[in-house]
């Protein structure tokens, strides 16, 4: 036996405890796991880039594209290779039919991604559209998660008639095809302004798609949370707390909520991806964001009529949606692995 310090393998139990690195907290551990996932980190970095780019939309419109992305510019011109060129070009061949917006100029300047059918700069609208798409995606996700968490906690914890009533309500909501429900709500609400106390929601308010998308996905999140709460309700620490006479609401707040919180966090990016897609679908169908405001969905709709002559108008926001949703899904997977590796949550 040497006189040197024993290794971890050679050490006894007490020595091992002393030699072991300090235990990480749940969140710190999860964070460390997340840091070991380059794909998730890369996705996060990409999302940050997207968010900052979209935040810079007013500066891009003012200093780079030098056009108002919300004003029509049908008779406008732009400089290309020192020459003034119509933004919307009338056909000169054949019978002179049709109008083609100027194509992508691939430069850090006006009409980098070309113009749409109103002569507006597609790149500037893409950035402004991203603001709305991300805002609607994030806000509707927040609404959905808050409502779903409250509903799932109440249903799972109180059980009995409360659970049955909430579950039936969620089942009814869930029984409707999501897009059909969202489209129906949108059509009704867009055509009729709603007044809730001092809050007036007009047809072109961004709050409408936010609320609609936020509400229709509540069962999607509430049901797994309810299931988790049902399981936690009978766990030893909850039974112990009950035995000690801790009030139910306190158990809910202090013991159960923290245990389902990781699930909620895992859901966040995945739901945001889903909500961005839903917003795009509604706006594409003209029942989401209303013109002249833009979202990626409305820009795709604008581009639909230009698919043959100016496909960039539809492709650019399509790519933005694909990349953002992909990044959110990869980040969501990373978060799930980090926070709740046993979970089988899948969205989409």
């Amino acid at each position: 036996m040497s006189g040197a310090e024993p290794t971890y393998a050679e050490a006894g139990w007490d020595e091992r405890v002393a030699l072991a690195p300090p235990a990480l907290g749940y969140w710190a551990g999860a964070f460390r796991k997340l840091l070991r996932k380059p794909s998730a980190l890369l996705s996060f970095a990409f999302l940050v880039l997207i968010v900052f780019s979209c935040m810079a939309a007013p500066y891009y419109a003012r200093d780079v594209s030098r056009t108002d992305p919300f004003a029509t510019n049908v008779g406008g011109t732009t400089m290309v290779h020192g020459k003034s060129v119509d933004v919307l070009q009338q056909a000169t061949n054949g019978l002179g039919l049709g109008l083609t917006p100027i194509g992508p100029l691939w430069r850090f300047g006006p009409y980098a991604l070309g113009a749409d059918d109103q002569g507006r700069d597609v790149a500037a609208r893409l950035l402004y559209g991203g603001r709305n798409s991300l805002l609607i995606g994030a806000a509707s996700t927040a609404i959905c998660l808050v409502l779903a968490t409250i509903t799932g906690l109440i249903a799972g914890f109180f059980g009995g008639i409360v659970d049955r009533v909430i579950s039936v309500f969620l089942d009814i909501l869930w029984a409707f095809p999501i897009y059909l429900l969202a489209i129906s709500l949108s059509i009704v609400l867009i055509n009729q302004s709603i007044g809730i106390g001092p809050l007036q929601l007009t047809g072109n308010s961004l709050l409408l798609p936010i609320l609609i998308i936020g509400v229709v996905y509540v069962p999607y999140v509430a049901r797994p949370i309810r299931g988790q709460v049902l399981s936690l309700r009978n766990s030893e620490f909850v039974l112990a707390a009950r035995g000690l006479g801790v009030p139910g609401l306190r158990i809910l707040w202090r013991d159960i909520l923290p245990n389902v919180f990781s699930t909620v966090i895992v859901f966040a990016p995945l739901m945001m991806a889903l909500n961005i897609l839903t917003e795009a679908a509604l706006s594409f169908l003209s029942v989401g964001v209303q013109p002249p405001a833009a979202s990626w969905g409305t820009i795709i709709h604008d581009g639909e009529a230009l698919l043959y002559t100016q496909p960039t108008v539809a492709i650019a926001p399509g790519m933005a949606i694909v990349l953002t949703v992909l990044a959110l899904n990869i980040l969501g997977d990373g978060l799930r692995d980090a926070l709740d590796p046993r979970a089988k949550l899948r969205v989409g």
């Binding site: 049908v74 008779g75 054949g94 002179g96 049709g98 059509i187 003209s286 209303q290």
Partner: protein, 554 residues
């Protein structure tokens, strides 16, 4: 068993010939006759009842399926506006101060079920028109004596103003007052004569027998429609109801406008109903110029401004919009100068009473040249309406949507806080009409029912056609000027005796309404038809557009 069938067939054949249930008339033959014409559209347009359906899609078909006492001539261009006798031997001269029309029916005309068409069928058709709640029963056909009572209580309608004499083969119409457009109203598809035995309800997808050159063999709104030759049809007037060239017309539903263009391009279909998508116009015009047909329409696209709601209850505010509107830009959004012409007035070129007039341009005169933004801003200041919120109502489809966005942007330039509400094309037209929706400004269009100035001016701007709270208030801006109403009544009365004099009054009415700006005209559209390579003899009627019976595919 086989023999038994043959034995059964022989007497059945003889009985059928006696009863007239088998065709006795041979289909025409000769060059270009025969084959199947394939039409395509995105969707069906509902009922095939000619006394109920009020859509262009089926108004193109009804004239080859049914006949009226009179009809619009089957011809190209403005010749199609001429009214010719159809089931009637001739067009009668009205008597009793213009209040009585006595028609004598041609003999031997049969419906596609073999039944002979009689005077009583004509009378029953007009009674049925009220019972099935024809869209224009209360505005056009209530001029017939007893019409107003039929509008009030359709179920008990007897319509004493239509008298049939089967023995003499005559039908007499008694009107409550002279009506210069009565013949026009008889000539449109609502006046199609159907068998008296036809149930007095909307027949929906069940075809009603007609006397036209073709009959409906099958109709499924989800798939399509097949028209075949009417076995009992024999041409009595090429101008009214000619033999069609093709033996069969297949109308398929379900392709998007884009796919329709591709189908015609590939020769899978011969003609598409829906407008050619804007991004394919240049391709079609460049690659297939011989297969593209452009024709002017008696129609206009306009902004309707609610004269009873702020901010457009101010004349200055309405005129500001009229001056600011860059109609050249709107023409571009419509597809370019080859497809539309800027306009400032209600009546379209080619309409009787049309005199070119445009006060809302940089150099006021007969034609629009450029917007006058300085004048518009001056009027805006005068109106004191800047800063108000305005919502532009438009449709979700192009070019309406693009035009809506354009107008919203223009209103912002004028100082309003403008937004756009794009709603489904299925409901926009009625949405704009109902005052309960509090529409301030909307984008819509109007296509002629028949070529008469009153079909634009009287229908869209008379006090009588403003019905607050109703979905059928076709006077969308709620415009009512008793002095203009009086002029229109005067013109309608005068047109019975002096059409030229009446047209002068219509021209004045057009100018007065343009000056008052309850609506702001944007453009007069043209129609683009793209046909297959094999389709020949394309004839475009100003009344019913493409005439399928005159086209050949051989």
């Amino acid at each position: 068993m086989r023999l038994f069938r043959k034995l059964l067939k022989a007497p059945a054949l003889a009985a059928a010939l006696v009863l007239g249930s088998l065709p006795a008339i041979a289909a025409p033959s000769g060059p270009h006759y025969g084959g199947t014409l394939r039409l395509v559209a995105a969707a069906a347009e509902g009922t095939m009842d000619p006394q109920v359906n009020y859509t262009l899609k089926y108004w193109q078909l009804f004239p080859i399926l049914y006949d009226g006492l009179v009809t619009f001539q089957k011809a190209g261009g403005t010749d199609a506006f001429k009214i010719v006798p159809d089931l009637a031997v001739s067009i009668p001269t009205p008597t009793d101060g213009g209040k009585t029309y006595r028609f004598t029916l041609r003999k031997g005309i049969r419906f596609s079920n073999g039944q002979t068409l009689t005077a009583d069928d004509v009378r029953a058709t007009f009674v049925r028109m009220f019972k099935v709640l024809n869209p224009n029963a209360g505005t056009w056909y209530n001029v017939i004596e007893g019409g107003d009572a039929c509008v009030k209580t359709p179920a008990s309608c007897t319509l004493p103003g239509v008298v049939a004499d089967d023995a003499a083969g005559t039908v007499t119409f008694h009107l409550v007052h002279p009506d210069s457009e009565f013949l026009d109203q008889l000539a449109v598809p609502f006046g199609s004569i159907v068998p008296a035995s036809t149930p007095a309800k909307d027949m929906g997808t069940t075809p009603i027998p007609g006397s036209g050159a073709y009959m409906i063999k099958s109709y499924d709104p989800n798939k399509g429609m097949v028209l075949v030759r009417n076995p009992y049809f024999k041409q009595w007037s090429a101008a009214a109801q000619p033999w069609g060239y093709v033996d069969e017309i297949d109308y398929n539903f379900g392709l998007t406008p884009d796919a329709q263009v591709t189908a015609v391009e590939n020769g899978q279909d011969d003609w598409s109903f829906d407008n050619i998508p804007l991004d394919r116009l240049n391709e079609i015009a460049t690659r297939y110029p011989q297969q593209l047909h452009l024709n002017p329409l008696l129609a206009y696209f306009y902004l309707t401004l609610n004269v009873n709601l702020p901010p457009f209850n101010s004349l200055a505010a309405r005129q500001a919009v009229a001056y600011a509107l860059n109609r050249g830009d709107l023409v571009k959004l419509y597809g370019g100068p080859a497809l539309a012409t800027p306009s400032c007035q209600v009546l379209p070129p080619g309409m009787p009473g049309y005199v070119a007039y445009c006060p809302y341009t940089q150099n006021p005169g007969p034609r629009w040249t450029a917007p006058d933004m300085a004048k518009a801003k001056e009027l805006m200041a005068k109106s004191g309406t800047a800063g108000q919120s305005v919502t532009v109502i438009t449709q979700t489809i192009d070019p309406y949507r693009a035009m809506g966005v354009y107008v919203q942007s223009l209103l912002n330039q004028l100082g309003y806080k403008a937004s756009v509400k794009a709603i489904s094309p299925d409901i926009e037209f009625t949405y704009l009409q109902n005052t309960k929706n509090k529409v301030q400004i909307g984008i819509t269009d109007w296509y002629q029912d028949y070529p008469a100035p009153s079909d634009f001016l009287n229908v869209l701007y008379s006090c009588a056609n403003f019905h607050p709270g109703s979905d059928t208030s076709i006077n969308m801006p709620g415009f009512c000027d008793p002095s203009i109403d009086k002029m229109m009544q005067q013109a309608m009365t005068l047109s019975l005796t002096d059409e030229a004099g009446a047209n002068k009054i219509w021209a004045q009415v057009d100018q007065k309404i343009t000056d008052a700006s309850p609506t702001v005209t944007m453009l007069n559209p043209k129609h683009a038809d793209f046909v297959s390579k094999r389709l020949g003899n394309f004839v475009f009627s100003g009344q019913t557009y493409f005439q399928p019976e005159l086209a050949w595919v051989k």
